[in-house]
């Protein structure tokens, strides 16, 4: 191929060259793309189709139109799961945001042992969920955990029952999530803070702004794109929550901490499998995430 044949016209040669460079490019993409198509794209399309069907995995797939979606409207467990997911979201997103921003600002200062503090704050994020959830369960054990022991020493009378209490179970999971994930968003904020032009802060302090005013009028507006990104990421991941509940409350007490993904898992893999119905719930989750993504898309194109 590398030998240039003078008999081949220039246009054809050019074509061949273009074809060749196309093939090289495809060879770069192929390993990932083939795997991605088969493992991700195909099931995605299948999921949409399955939402309109009835299937237990044994008998024939049966097309039932919108029946699954009609059933969702009267399904109490689904409704609870939906509401719980939103409650969890409303609880974790602002709390994690504020904590991670505060932490990032502290750790962006010129302090001794800065790297140590950064590593420490990030560590809960990388730590195994099963392991830290086990510790959390012990620390917040209602009858003998150190947290309640401490509270009773301090004179608190109605000790909270944490994961075992109907009203406190969700709060317990939210606190756990904030603790576990804030380090990750802190890193994102740190990256954002390092992207701020230092001249802006200097100009503000020359104008006599104190550090609080600088924060409100310079740092925070400059961080707007980062904050936007963090809010979106937090919201999407809060919609997908499952593991935390599974390990800390098992969705209980009652259905107090059951979430959409928890419901999907139960419907599809526990007792008699109802794959079609589970896919219908999945579509609800998908639409929720899609809405947030569209907001992000609009927001980030407005920013540019």
């Amino acid at each position: 191929m590398s030998q240039v044949n003078p008999a081949v016209p220039a246009a054809k040669r050019k074509n061949r060259k273009a074809l060749r460079s196309n093939l090289v490019a495809y060879s770069f993409i192929a390993p990932n793309f083939i795997g991605f198509c088969v493992i991700t794209l195909v099931p995605m399309v299948f999921a949409i189709a399955l939402a309109f069907c009835n299937w237990d995995g044994v008998h024939e797939i049966e097309f039932i139109g919108l029946q699954n979606f009609a059933k969702l409207l009267t399904d109490k467990t689904f409704k609870t799961a939906f509401v719980n997911t939103i409650v969890y979201s409303v609880g974790t997103v602002p709390l994690t945001l504020v904590c991670s921003l505060g932490l990032a600002i502290l750790l962006n200062q010129n302090v001794k042992l800065r790297n140590f503090f950064r590593t420490v704050s990030f560590f809960p994020y990388v730590a195994s969920l099963v392991a830290v959830a086990a510790v959390w369960n012990n620390l917040f054990n209602p009858s003998m955990g150190p947290v309640n022991m401490l509270l009773s020493k301090l004179g608190v009378e109605n000790l909270p029952r944490w994961a075992a209490g109907k009203d406190t179970a969700m709060i317990t999971v939210i606190l756990f999530s904030v603790w576990k994930n804030m380090g990750y968003y802190m890193v994102i904020y740190l990256a954002g803070l390092q992207g701020i032009n230092p001249d802006l802060k200097e100009a503000a302090s020359l104008d006599g702004a104190n550090s609080w005013q600088t924060f409100w009028n310079v740092t925070l507006p400059q961080l707007r794109p980062t904050t936007f990104f963090v809010v979106i990421m937090l919201t999407i991941s809060s919609f997908k929550v499952y593991d935390q509940m599974f390990m800390i409350t098992q969705g209980g007490p009652g259905n107090a901490t059951i979430t959409l993904v928890y419901d999907i898992y139960n419907v599809a893999f526990v007792n008699t499998p109802k794959y079609g119905y589970a896919s219908a719930i999945s579509m609800v989750l998908f639409v929720l995430v899609l809405i947030i993504t569209l907001i992000q898309f609009k927001g980030s194109s407005a920013d540019n």
Binding site: S21, A25, I29, L106, A191, S282, L290
Partner: protein
């Protein structure tokens, strides 16, 4: 106002804010670390002593026996081997295929580029949990349930990795590639000798994310792996916790063991991490 007291004032304020910052940092570090310290402390205790109050941070008669017993109570070694195998294979595949594809998307011109990339981007928004059910059905029809291959396939090809690496490659000057091309390097050569070595921060970031995600993955192995000899450390540990919920000392010992590999990977790569997040556009 004279100049002198103002200066003294400013200095005093600076000292106060320093003290405040350190106080806050120490409280935060304390909150972050205390569960881990408690975990290690409890892992050296008898069950009956785990909840003694006030907490005995350093056990008066430590019981390292927990770290011996745990290996025979559950097949912990098998779990660790399985998880290590899966994590290494997935991380390798993920880094290799993602950076390979990302090179084409960032630096090559070819037909259908935008369309293909749009395909990746569109799926980033679809949560795995929304299609995990049909995916499981598909894998089961290929008799891949209860195999490690299923977990590898599940994790190895992500749009996220391609996106992350592409963002980073776009920051590398195209002139570098042009110069190499003139010097007679093939595209594969440019990828291997120029782009990959230059993208160490992004690769480290991707390794940390993939390693941590695979090592800690729960729902995937929970759905696919039901046979004990195939289980990963996360579901193995979870199974142990639900079977022996009162064996606090042993549970904590097993948890400490489950944390160590991630800690090692994280600490050895973390210096690249903030830089990696900053340069790959993960910050938005």
């Amino acid at each position: 106002m004279s100049v002198k007291p103002m200066k003294a004032n400013a200095r005093r304020n600076a000292v106060i804010s320093r003290v405040l910052i350190y106080a806050l940092l120490i409280i935060i570090a304390f909150l972050m670390l205390i569960p881990f310290v408690w975990m290690i402390s409890a892992s050296f205790k008898m069950n009956k002593d785990v909840f003694s109050f006030p907490i005995e941070w350093i056990p008066s008669n430590p019981r390292p026996q927990n770290y011996v017993d745990i290996w025979t109570k559950i097949p912990l070694l098998t779990f660790i081997k399985n998880t290590a195998f899966l994590t290494v294979v997935v991380t390798f595949l993920q880094v290799f295929t993602s950076s390979f594809a990302a090179y084409a998307f960032a630096k090559l011109r070819f037909r259908g580029k935008n369309l293909l990339f749009l395909g990746y981007i569109a799926t980033i928004a679809v949560p795995w949990q929304a299609y995990m059910v049909p995916q499981f059905m598909m894998m089961r029809s290929w008799h891949l349930n209860n195999t490690h291959l299923a977990i590898i396939l599940l994790q190895a090809f992500s749009a996220f990795g391609v996106f992350l690496m592409k963002q980073f490659y776009e920051g590398i000057p195209t002139e570098l590639c042009e110069a190499a091309r003139i010097d007679g390097l093939s595209e594969y050569g440019i990828y291997a000798r120029i782009m990959l070595p230059l993208s160490l921060p992004a690769v480290s970031t991707l390794i940390i994310f993939t390693f941590v995600n695979t090592w800690n993955d729960f729902l995937g192995p929970l759905i696919y792996l039901t046979r004990n000899e195939l289980k990963t450390i996360q579901i193995g540990l979870r199974m142990f916790i639900s079977q022996y919920s009162a064996e606090y000392g042993l549970i904590m010992a097993a948890s400490v063991i489950a944390l160590i590999p991630v800690l090692i990977v994280f600490l050895s790569l973390q210096k690249y991490f903030v830089q990696g997040v900053a340069s790959t556009g993960l910050k938005g």
